[in-house]
Symmetry: C2
Subunit: 251 residues, 2 copies
C-alpha cells in the first residue's frame, strides 16, 4: 500500500498515513517523518523498559505509540492519562525491522533509559504535523498567589511587610519572607490546593532554620485554600499559623 498524502508533491504534507502496511512501508514513513511529525502507531505489540527502573509488557496486545519530534515517546493503553511505558524528551527514536517485525527503540541518554517495542501486527500508522502554543499561561497557580500577596500583603495579615520572595536558604527556598507589625520575621508558605502534613513540615523546616540562624522568634504562616485536619493539628502543635486563601480569588 502506498503512502496516502494530502498536499502537493513539493511540500511536506501535514498528514500521511498507512493502513495495514508492510513493515518496510511503515519503516519508511517513520524514518521520513519522525523528526518533524508526531507519529501515531497502532497495532499489536509487546514492549519493555529498562532505565531508572525496569518493566515489561510481555502480552501481545493492541496499543498506541505516540512519538514526538522532540523525542517524547509514549505507549498508551485503553485507560489512564499516563502512558504505560514512555521516554521523556529528549530521547532518540530508532526504527528497524527484525526478523520481519517492526521494532522501535527509544533511547534516552541521561539517565540512560531504553524502551523497546516490537509490533508484529501493524494496523495503522500516521504522521501528523502539530503546532506549539507560545506564551502559554495558566491562571491560578501558586506563583499567582505569591504575586497577589506581594502586591497586597494585607491578604495575609494587616501590617505585614514583604522583605523578600523566593528567599534562598540551605534548607530550601522560602516563598515569602516578611515582617509583621511588631517587627517579627514571618515565613509564608503558599499552596494552591489543600495543604497536607508535607506542607506543614516544609514551613516548620524554614521557620526552625531561620529562627536558629537569626537567633530570634520567627512566625510561620501557611497560606492555602484549605488544610487537612491532621495537618492542622500538626501545624498548631508547633505554634504555626494557617491563613485561608483561594488561588482563584487571585485572578
Amino acid at each position: 500500500m502506498s503512502i496516502t498524502s494530502f498536499m502537493g508533491k513539493e511540500t511536506t504534507p501535514d498528514l500521511e498515513y498507512l493502513v495495514d502496511p508492510m513493515p518496510t512501508e511503515a519503516l519508511r514513513l517513520i524514518n521520513l517523518r519522525k523528526s518533524t511529525h508526531v507519529m501515531l502507531i497502532y497495532g499489536d505489540m509487546t514492549a519493555s523498559y529498562e532505565g531508572r527502573a525496569k518493566s515489561q509488557l510481555e502480552e501481545l496486545m493492541p496499543r498506541l505509540v505516540v512519538s514526538k519530534p522532540d523525542g517524547t515517546f509514549m505507549i498508551h493503553e485503553a485507560s489512564k492519562e499516563r502512558p504505560r511505558l514512555w521516554n521523556p524528551p529528549p530521547s532518540t527514536l530508532y526504527a528497524s525491522i527484525n526478523l520481519g517485525v517492526l521494532t522501535l527503540r527509544s533511547v534516552r541518554a541521561s539517565p540512560r533509559e531504553v524502551v523497546i517495542v516490537e509490533i508484529p501486527v501493524i494496523r495503522f500508522i500516521g504522521a501528523v504535523r502539530l503546532g506549539v502554543t507560545l506564551n502559554y499561561r495558566v491562571f491560578g497557580t501558586e506563583e499567582d498567589m505569591v504575586n497577589a500577596i506581594v502586591n497586597n500583603p494585607s491578604i495575609v495579615e494587616e501590617g505585614l511587610q514583604v522583605i523578600a520572595r523566593e528567599y534562598h536558604t540551605i534548607v530550601g527556598d522560602i516563598d515569602i519572607l516578611g515582617k509583621d507589625s511588631k517587627g517579627n520575621l514571618v515565613v509564608i508558605e503558599c499552596k494552591r490546593s489543600q495543604a497536607g502534613p508535607e506542607a506543614v513540615n516544609q514551613l516548620k523546616r524554614y521557620v526552625e532554620h531561620l529562627s536558629q540562624k537569626e537567633d530570634r522568634n520567627v512566625r510561620g504562616i501557611l497560606v492555602a485554600p484549605s488544610i487537612s485536619s491532621a495537618a492542622y493539628h500538626y501545624l498548631r502543635s508547633y505554634g504555626l499559623e494557617f491563613r485561608r486563601v483561594e488561588p482563584k480569588g487571585m485572578l
Copy 2:
C-alpha cells in the same frame, strides 16, 4: 465520506477512521465509539480549560486530541510528554456541532473541570480499540528496596533487627522501624532516587516524634542511592545518618 472500517458488519471494528470528514460524519463516529474506543482527532483547533485553574489556547493551530473510554481527555502538541490541556479520568465527553463547528466538551464532575475544544478544520479522526495490561509491575521501586532490607537488614547495618514495616504514627508512616545491635531504636526512610531536603525533613519528623514518645534516643537512617550536598549537611546537622543503597541492586 463514509466510514472506512476493517471488519465484518456484525462485529465492532477495531479501527475506523475518516479523512477530512464533514463535522456531522465526525460527530457520528465520535458518539458511536467514544465509550469503547480511543478516539484520535487531528485538526486545527482552539481550546479552553477551567477548573482547579484556568487557561486558554486561543490561537487556531493543528493539535491532536486523544480521548479514552475511561474519560481521559488530552490535547497534545508537537512537543513534551504532558498534554497541553487535559481532563483526567473519570470525565465525560460530549460532542456537538455549533454553527457548523465540531465542538468537544470534556467534563469532570469532582472537582468540576471543563475542557472545551472547537475544531473548525477536521483533518483526521480515528477510533482504535486498545487493551489494558493486567498485573503490571515495575521493578526497582521504593517498595522493592524496603522488601530487600526487611529480608536482609544487613544491607543497612550489621546486627540490625527489623521490628516493623509501614509503622503508623501520627506524623506519618515509617518505612522500617528497627533495633540496632546496642538496642537503640532505628528509623529507616527509603528513597529510590536521590534524596533531597524533603526526605531529610521527613526522617527528622519521624525521629523527633518517636524519641519524644518513647523518651529515649532514636537513630534515623536515610537509605537512598545518593543525597544532595545541601541535604547531607542538613541531615548531619541533626545527627541523622545516610546509607547509600542502589534500588537496582534489589532486583
